[in-house]
């Protein structure tokens, strides 16, 4: 798509030059191509509009019109703007506290349980004592799933299969962590929709009681326009600290990354790139910007 986009832009500019009508209005029409590319990459409609307005200003300021290859320059500016928008530099997870509690949240099937396992495995490798906590008391076999992952990475999983109270389970898990000298507790929770009031209250209560040093919002990178609604609501309820972008091993452009950053202004801290426990990576805004533009 990158070639495609910069080709389209170059062509658009060439036509303009040919007619000798290079004006601000014409830049606006080429910027439209960028907007379309962003929307095709699943950046939210409104966000794409705002982002391209910024890009247009930047482009005019940098004399795109007299560049040798205005299309390429415009793409470069776009890439820079997207990178800036997604945070510029990489941000780390906060693991202060004894134990440090990491609360995992997100929609159904986004990859929370898998990511919980991955994060536990990564922290263990860094020499931390970790406890995984199974607080998804709804999904069939959710506890078994976490236990299988725990076994794979050699991390203990705290669960109370008969207990239907996530808050109780989590509180006792923390007591258990203290008793057994675990410095980090990762709490996996059930998937929930932002419109499910009862479930949102549950996780809100979990956050309040556990006072996590890090609350993460896990989101499927294939998510479309709705990413903004979900991220906004989860952030309003949880004031989360960071985002995890999953399933980036596929070919989705992942425009949701921009939408989310734009509406909640929270950093993306990790990416998930596969089903295996080692498929966890830090987030790099510049790479993500290139990906969204199909470069």
């Amino acid at each position: 798509m990158f070639d495609n986009l910069s080709y389209k832009l170059d062509r658009a500019f060439k036509t303009l030059k040919g007619t000798g009508k290079i004006t601000e209005i014409n830049v606006a029409s080429t910027v439209k191509e960028i907007r379309r590319a962003l929307i095709d990459a699943d950046v939210n409609y409104k966000v794409a509009k705002e982002v391209t307005d910024t890009i247009k200003q930047e482009a005019l300021g940098r004399d795109v019109l007299i560049a040798v290859s205005p299309g390429q320059l415009l793409v470069k500016i776009t890439q820079e703007e997207l990178t800036k928008l997604m945070g510029g530099k990489k941000e780390d997870i906060n693991l202060q506290g004894d134990p440090a509690v990491v609360l995992i949240s997100g929609l159904q099937g986004s990859g929370k349980t898998t990511f919980s396992g991955k994060l536990a495995g990564q922290l263990k490798k860094q020499g931390r004592q970790v406890l995984l906590v199974a607080c998804d008391i709804y999904r069939p076999a959710a506890i078994d799933q976490l236990k299988v992952l725990g076994e794979q990475i050699g991390v203990e999983v705290y669960a109370e299969p008969e207990n239907k109270n996530a808050l109780e389970i989590a509180s006792r898990a923390i007591a258990h962590a203290k008793k057994t000298g675990k410095k980090t507790v990762i709490v996996d929770t059930a998937g929930r929709l932002a419109v499910d009031e009862q479930m949102m209250q549950e996780i809100e209560a979990l956050k309040k009681a556990l006072n996590p040093s890090e609350t993460l919002f896990v989101v499927d990178s294939m998510t479309g326009q709705d990413a903004v609604n979900t991220a906004k609501t989860f952030d309003e309820r949880l004031d989360f600290d960071g985002v995890v972008l999953t399933k980036l091993d596929g070919d989705t452009r992942g425009g949701a990354a921009i939408s989310i950053r734009h509406v909640v202004n929270k950093p993306i801290k990790f990416i998930s790139t596969g089903e295996k426990m080692e498929n966890i990576d830090a987030f790099h805004p510049d790479r993500m910007a290139q990906r969204i533009l199909g470069m």
């Binding site: 069939p140 976490l146 932002a194 479309g224 709705d226 596929g250």
Partner: protein, 285 residues
Amino acid sequence: VGKSTVDEEVLDELEEILITADVGVDTTLKVIKRIEERVARDKYLNTSELDVILREEIAGLLEENRSVDQETAFTLPEDKKPYVIMVVGVNGVGKTTTIGKLAHQFKAAGKSVVLGAADTFRAAAVDQLILWAERVDVPVISHGMHADPASVAFDTVKKAVDMHADVVIVDTAGRLHTKVNLMNELSKIKRVMQKFIPDAPHDVMLVLDGSTGQNAFVQAKEFTKATEITSLAITKLDGTAKGGVVIGISDQFKIPVKYIGVGEKVSDLQVFNRKAFVEALFQKK
């Protein structure tokens, strides 16, 4: 749409509604172009007429399952017994849950159902399907975790024949369409079942997550290539996502949408109704 005549502003608003429902730029422009043509023809088109035309135009893009009503949706062709359904899709879209719900509906329609646990890969996937089978009280064939999925599928079909079952539903592991070996594995699962029942699977159902954006297009394309998808199920439509990407998919690939998932409970499966679906596109939640 609060204005009385169709002008640029109305069309812009329409564009926003469609794009934010994940309809995608191409399909949105296609719809808008058709509306513009109508407007050019019927000069005095007002917005209430637009509403009607718009719904017609979009519904026209959607392939609908022939057995639309809840009554006939779970009846099966008599010459295909057992009727074999293979369920595929990318990770986490709701395949296993949809199978549980489907089993429940078929059973309620008086059919005997057998499930096949051919996701032998994802942690506790077999346990999850077994729990669903217990919940809806149907048998499930499983060889446990890490078994060869094709042999599980073969065995499921074979046992279903022995048991004179009406419907077989085979669960498969979630896989991204970019993973060639995993896509080949699906073709293999399909072929193996055909050794036993030549025209099986009678339905290859692609499950799409209703909150997925434009990537769903590629999913439909690649899964169709590997397994010739014959129906779609759209899940998680109980949230604010509209699932609009399915309009373009249905239009381009001519695959009917059969079911929608509207929750996690056993009863949260509905037969797809394109009128209701299109209506929901324009509803603010």
